[in-house]
């Protein structure tokens, strides 16, 4: 009976998984096709042979290694910086219970809902004033704030439900506020912080508009901006775009796969305790 009920769920999951993977497959398929083959047989045909020139040409053309370093640097700094900032904010709001908490949280949600298009000009003028225009640091700072807005909102509600007994026990043991945060709250919430880190990293990795506007020199550009080079005014190089998309996605997927393991380990460790 139970097995019978499970099969439809399994089937639905398989269908969903196929639907999710299909676009990636199409991208991978076209990444290894020659432009002539693509034009002749369309995007859904199977490639006749492995054509890797598209990937190699793209790598050369945009100096992809440098873009990877930039993206890792920016996304990594943002993930760590935003997570630290979120933890500090959320500690004050969730455990410290500062006055006017709901308003502060509402403000953070609002900041999070602000479309990035609205930020473009203010961020441009401010960064020009302080001499940070066309530097990676400008993008890092902006995204630390943007991501931390969401992180604060989420982590505050997590800490709002944090067992008060643990905090009080630590206080009785003589821990000050700083020690409570770093020795009690952070270790216990490690899985949540880990999830935030992964999200921040991947979200920042995929950001397009602000890096496009702020990173002018090719040496400072990120992977997602570099992909834009291929979109011409009237023409597009479909196979090379696919090759580039594949190159752009792979690092984020690898990152996720690595941290996926540490995440589950962290959650399991918490469960035993």
């Amino acid at each position: 009976m139970r097995a019978l009920r499970r099969y439809p769920v399994l089937a639905a999951l398989i269908v969903a998984a196929v639907l999710m993977v299909l676009p990636f497959l199409v991208v991978a398929l076209n990444a290894v096709k020659s432009p002539a083959e693509y034009s002749a047989n369309g995007p859904l045909s199977l490639p006749k042979g492995l054509y890797l020139d598209g990937i190699a040409d793209f790598w050369e053309r945009v100096d992809f290694g440098q873009k990877l370093i930039n993206s890792v640097l920016i996304s990594g700094s943002v993930a760590i910086g935003a997570a630290v900032l979120s933890v500090l904010n959320a500690y004050a709001i969730g455990i410290g219970r500062v006055k006017g908490r709901p308003w502060v949280l509402a403000f953070f949600v609002l900041a999070n809902m602000l479309p990035q298009e609205a930020l473009v000009y203010p961020v441009y003028y401010l960064s020009k004033e302080v001499g940070l225009y066309d530097t990676r640091l400008s993008v890092i700072l902006v995204f630390i704030v943007i991501q931390a807005a969401f992180g604060t909102y989420l982590f505050s509600s997590v800490l709002g439900a944090f067992p008060r007994e643990i905090v009080e026990a630590a206080r009785i043991d003589g821990a000050n506020k700083w020690q409570v945060l770093w020795r009690v709250v952070v270790p216990v919430s490690r899985p949540t912080i880990g999830v935030l880190l992964v999200f921040f990293f991947i979200w920042t990795w995929n950001e397009f508009l602000l890096p496009l506007v702020m990173l002018i020199s090719n040496d400072n550009q990120t992977v997602s901006v570099a992909l834009g080079v291929l979109q011409g005014q009237r023409l597009m190089d479909a196979t090379m775009t696919n090759a580039a998309a594949l190159l752009g996605v792979v690092p984020a997927v690898i990152f996720f796969l690595i941290f996926q393991r540490t995440l589950t380990r962290g959650i399991a460790a918490g469960a035993v305790k």
Binding site: Y133, T135, D173, R183, L212, V213, I216, G228, V229
Partner: protein
Amino acid sequence: MLTARKRTGRLTKRTGTVIAAAVAGALVLAGCGGGGDEAGDGKTLTLWHYEAPNGAMGAAWKQAIEEFKKSHPGVTVKFEEKGFEQIRKTASMVLGSDSAPDLMEYNKGNATTGLLSKQGLLTDLSPEVTKRGWDKPLSPGVRTTSRYDAQGVMGSGKWFGVPNYAEYTMVFYNKTLFKKHKVEVPTTFGEFTAALRAFKSKGITPLANAGAEYPAQQYVYQLALSQADRSWVDAYEQYKGKPDFHDAAWTYGATTFADWVKKGWIAKSSSGTKAEDAGAAFIAGKYPMFFSGSWWFGRFKSEIKDEWGTFPFPGSKLTLGSGGNLWVVPKGAKNKQLAYDFIDITMKKGIQNTLGNKGGVPVAADPAAITDPKAKSLIQDFTAYSDGGGLAFYPDWPVPGFYDTLVSETQKLMTGDAKPDAYLDALEKAYEAGAPKG
């Protein structure tokens, strides 16, 4: 609980230090990566363009960089390939900062180069143009997009850009399909419609089209142009007189286009397709004809396996076209002299001939040096239009944001949701709302 806390406590101390170090390291690294600030020492030329390296312009300009290096020993050329979107979205911001290049490719038109010139972000090139004679090879139709008045409207005033190439529309046709179905290549409009009918009767949709992008509106505009004259174009594009959207030309364009869709000469199902799809379908030999611009030429040349050729749209003295994108020199450029020298090189015969042989439409090539027969006829057809004042620009130019109106209204015309009259009403309304008054 207590032991657990102790254990994790030690752990976090260590990770805390690691995190702090990582953040500090990242910030320091990021801080060093400022854009190099070269002063105006005449030793570096910073150059941006957004042409693919294997296209006609990309190849010609690569050669120009080599020649520039030869004639300017000791000068470094800092070339950066940009994305079209990046330049389009950020040009006004970049040009207002210290990071502006010395020379860049930019889109012609009121909403682009015109706007930047009005904002005072571009250098007036008029003195250099006269001194170096860049205007000599350019026909009046090509010059239009280089000059902008104080309001940023093209056609008159100072020179803010210099084009290296031009573009125009024509009918691309698949010779193999014409031969296979025994259809003659048309030279008059009557023969053209006869050819369309012949293909349709064999079950083939004769014309490739893309309703979701520029091709559909270009069919309509070309059909209207076939019934129009120069003053009609000037009224519509340059606000010299009030255009009448219900005159004979517009009415003919809209009704004929709707009629062709009804007859199946243009597939109704193409109302939602992109230009890329239409081009790819033509390359694959699914359609015998495609009316579009010279920007496809290089790609068709390298990718079409069948025999193919081009002919001018039959029965029309006017066609869509203009000067190509411009070289502009930002106001804040630090090495303007080098930028002028580079433009000069790109206007010389050597670079222009390369551009022509690679499938571009050069503005100052030596006709005898163009060896490829297809490229030769491409350039000859262009010269005929250009000398005869036949370049009629593009339908979306007069009004900012008009492109989207044209796309969506033409889609309605294709699907039959709008009759030609209602279609023209909608265009008139958008045009009136957006065109400069006075």
